[in-house]
């Protein structure tokens, strides 16, 4: 039993690890190919199977006039928009989540759970349809094709996630902690900032990570709501899809675009390892 279980355990983990890594490895080797080595059938090992070329990577920094996409500025735009929108969503979302977790709201038949669901339900609407009203809305307030406009829209995308995770998290933080803080002379704001927040860092990390991920990977709104001034990374990368699908540069860009988030993964893992991610308080 024990041995078999152990074998199965490592087998499954290894299997999944291979499954996770496989497309990345494929992307890595493909990123060094060119039109001819792609279209000759599947090949794997550079120098042995095919002559490696750097074209796929060069495309990412060349100017469009030279057949590249120049992702450097969009890269920083994406980082900026994602981080700012995540930050604002976390701040607003955390406050709202705290209110929903701790206090009772009632307006007619609407109660706490309904408000929470209202937040979360913002993610149900297919983005296609919201894109047009958002376009008109941002047009009306003159924020189309601007970083701020995108941040505004991303707040709508991200705040529900922040609220959902933080409500869940605060529900696990005993409310007696805030009560004790109040009794010890803190007003509700002080209780929140001095006591609840410092004990919610793991929750904030997870919520922050989800916000960053969902902001970073959005394509649709970034595509519809920008023109020339602001370009985000996914939009720029997708613009590599010309009549010929350039497997090589898309592979390179897939690797480049996932890179900053791997750092996020390490940060999250650090907090996981500390073992107190969602239950800092017994």
């Amino acid at each position: 039993m024990g041995k078999l279980y152990k074998f199965l355990k490592y087998f499954f983990i290894t299997f999944w690890a291979v499954f996770v890594v496989a497309p990345f490895l494929w992307a890595l080797t493909t990123s060094f190919k060119d039109f001819n080595s792609v279209n000759g059938g599947a090949t794997y090992i550079p120098w042995v199977d095919f002559e490696p070329k750097l074209e796929g990577w060069r495309v990412l920094i060349k100017s469009p006039a030279n057949g590249g996409v120049d992702i450097i500025e969009p890269y920083f735009n994406s980082l900026f928009v994602t981080c700012t929108a995540s930050l604002i969503s976390i701040v607003l979302g955390t406050l709202s989540a705290y209110a929903l977790s701790r206090f009772t709201f009632k307006a007619g038949f609407v109660k706490n759970n309904d408000i929470t669901f209202f937040f979360i339900s913002q993610r149900i609407m297919p983005p296609i349809v919201l894109s047009i009203p958002f376009f008109l809305f941002l047009g009306a307030i003159n924020l189309l094709d601007s970083l701020i406009g995108l941040i505004v829209v991303y707040i709508v995308l991200l705040m529900p996630i922040a609220v959902w995770i933080m409500v869940d998290f605060f529900n696990k933080v005993p409310r007696e902690i805030d009560e004790t803080a109040l009794i010890d002379g803190c007003n509700p704001y002080q209780a929140f900032f001095k006591v609840v927040l410092p004990n919610s860092i793991p929750g904030l990390i997870v919520a922050g990570m989800f916000c960053i991920i969902f902001g970073w990977i959005d394509f649709f709104f970034a595509f519809i709501l920008t023109f020339t001034e602001v370009q985000l990374l996914p939009v720029k990368i997708v613009a590599l899809n010309s009549s010929i699908t350039p497997w090589w540069s898309l592979s390179a860009s897939a690797l480049v675009s996932v890179a900053p988030l791997i750092i996020v993964a390490f940060i999250v893992e650090r907090y996981l390892s500390k073992g107190n991610l969602s239950g800092a308080i017994k």
């Binding site: 039109f35 059938g41 006039a65 057949g67 376009f135 595509f223 519809i224 023109f227 370009q231 699908t245």
Partner: protein, 512 residues
């Protein structure tokens, strides 16, 4: 006054003609792109553009992804900026999204882009938002060189809304090293009793493709297949279907509409001609490479251009890809008109006519317009005119992945391809002859350019892909499409569709 101007232009041009090297030095040095020819005189030449001053102005362009069309757009933007002092911002968008990317702001009453790239069949939806090409440019030396059919595709009932910068058509590409190979011909004859030659009909195309499917006939160690075509249910799929349908359904003796009966606006799409073509296409799923029914244009180009298939038919790209310097099959491919059919449907008499029929499909191609609300229209048209000036156009033609294809009368000179691109003479000849014949043909089909065109083509893609997937029989699939088309006509308004379609039919029936 006008006469004097014309004379003057003529004199200047002739002077320039005699001293091309002087210009080549000056501009060719500065702009390596046109090194081969130097500047070529014209109203929008480098020389002329350098006299303009657009300092402080910004031109915004949305174009296709890099490199096809997208790269020349960016390159010429850079050159234009250098020459005129303008600031030019270019964004790149995948083909499928070009329509929405421009249409959303159009509908919202905005013009974030001065210049929008798109396709010739967008014209009906876009023309309200586009500025007609001004007279000045209509009369430019550059425009004078554009072929009649491309003027037609760019115009709506005589008014040009889209600036011609590229030529597009579907034609047949085949592997010369097989079809023209005597050994293969012998072998094919022995096995099938038929001649191996450039297919004249879709049936021949199918037979040959099937014969050459699934074995290594060029000895490179990989299996080869019959045909690569766009079968993926996407925005281009309908074009492949229409290319296969024209032979059966475009009857020169029944004018008055290919897609609809112009009088009644009843769809023709489910008549036996189309059904026959769809039947052929379903058959074709047996001789495409593995995964072939999920091929988009990119896959088709990769597949044929990479030497995987015997045949392909659609835009130039696959052919040009195959003829690139580093291509394993350079100078092993040939171009020919689309196959025809041994019989053609007559929808007036409701019967087949057993007569050879062939018709080119002047397909959907790149088109570009200037937004009506743009504040820098002059600069925008100057840019477009500059984009396709003689020097730029010739240089662009020579670069395969630029996706700029012949659309000027001067482009059909095989020497361009032999000298600058290193093509074999017979290939260059077959290429230019194929294209030129299409220009001359009197029995041709223009793209559907009616309001709501995307609803129509999307219905075709859905219906035909159901047939390709085996969900429906060809007849059922096209009946479904016809029903959908009728509903769309109803929704859009019969009159509106009819009026718009009449313009296209007029061109098809050679009345425009």
């Amino acid at each position: 006054m006008k006469i004097i101007k014309t004379c003057l232009t003529a004199v200047i041009s002739s002077v320039l003609m005699f001293s091309p090297m002087a210009y080549a030095d000056k501009w060719g040095d500065q702009f390596p792109h046109i090194k081969a020819t130097g500047d070529i005189a014209g109203d929008c030449s480098y020389e002329e553009m350098s006299k303009k001053n657009y300092k402080g102005k910004t031109l915004k362009i949305n174009t296709h992804a890099v490199p096809v069309i997208g790269q020349p757009t960016a390159l010429h933007a850079e050159q234009f900026a250098k020459l005129t002092g303008a600031k030019v911002d270019v964004t790149h968008t995948p083909a499928g999204d070009l329509y929405a990317k421009a249409m959303v702001p159009f509908k919202a009453g905005q013009a974030p882009y001065d210049i929008v790239f798109g396709f010739s069949n967008f014209i009906n939806d876009w023309k309200r938002y586009l500025a007609p090409v001004p007279k000045k440019y209509m009369n430019s030396t550059e425009m004078k060189d554009v072929t009649k059919s491309h003027i037609g595709v760019s115009s709506w009932d005589g008014t040009m809304y889209q600036y011609p910068v590229d030529g597009d058509r579907h034609y047949l590409k085949y592997r010369k090293d097989v079809i023209d190979n005597p050994e293969m011909q012998k072998k094919y004859k022995a096995d099938t009793g038929k001649e191996l030659r450039v297919p004249r009909t879709w049936k021949e195309y199918g037979e040959m493709a099937k014969y050459f499917n699934g074995w290594d006939w060029d000895g490179d160690g990989e299996k080869e297949y019959g045909s690569a075509e766009v079968m993926k249910k996407d925005d281009l799929m309908f074009a492949a279907f229409f290319s296969r349908s024209v032979a059966y359904a475009k009857n020169p003796r029944t004018p008055g509409g290919f897609f609809f009966d112009l009088d009644t606006m009843k769809p023709n799409i489910n008549n036996p001609g189309f059904v026959e073509a769809l039947g052929d296409w379903v058959e074709a799923t047996k001789y495409v490479p593995p995964g072939g029914i999920n091929f988009g244009l990119g896959d088709e180009i990769g597949s044929f251009g990479g030497g995987q298939t015997l045949f392909s038919f659609s835009w130039d790209d696959a052919f040009i890809a195959a003829m690139q310097d580093d291509s394993p099959i350079k100078n092993k491919v040939g171009a020919a008109p689309l196959p025809g059919a041994d019989r053609v449907w007559n929808r007036t008499s409701n019967s087949w006519e057993n007569q050879y029929n062939q018709a080119p499909y002047i397909v959907w191609g790149w088109a570009v317009g200037v937004a009506k609300k743009s504040k820098v229209k002059d600069m925008a048209f100057d840019y477009l005119c500059f984009f396709s000036n003689g020097a730029n156009h010739q240089a662009d033609l020579a670069i395969g992945n630029f996706g700029v294809n012949p659309f000027k009368n001067s482009d059909f000179d095989p020497n361009i391809y032999i000298n600058t691109m290193g093509w074999d003479a017979d290939i260059a000849n077959s290429y230019t002859k194929t294209l030129l014949d299409m220009e001359k043909s009197k029995n041709r089909v223009f793209p559907l350019r009616v309001p709501g065109v995307f609803e129509f083509t999307s219905a075709v893609a859905t219906g035909t892909s159901k047939a390709l997937a085996g969900q429906l029989s060809p007849q059922e699939a096209l009946d479904e499409v016809a029903k959908e088309w009728e509903a769309i006509v109803q929704r859009v308004g019969k009159k509106a569709v009819q009026d718009a379609y009449a313009v296209g039919v007029k061109m098809e029936d050679n009345k425009l």
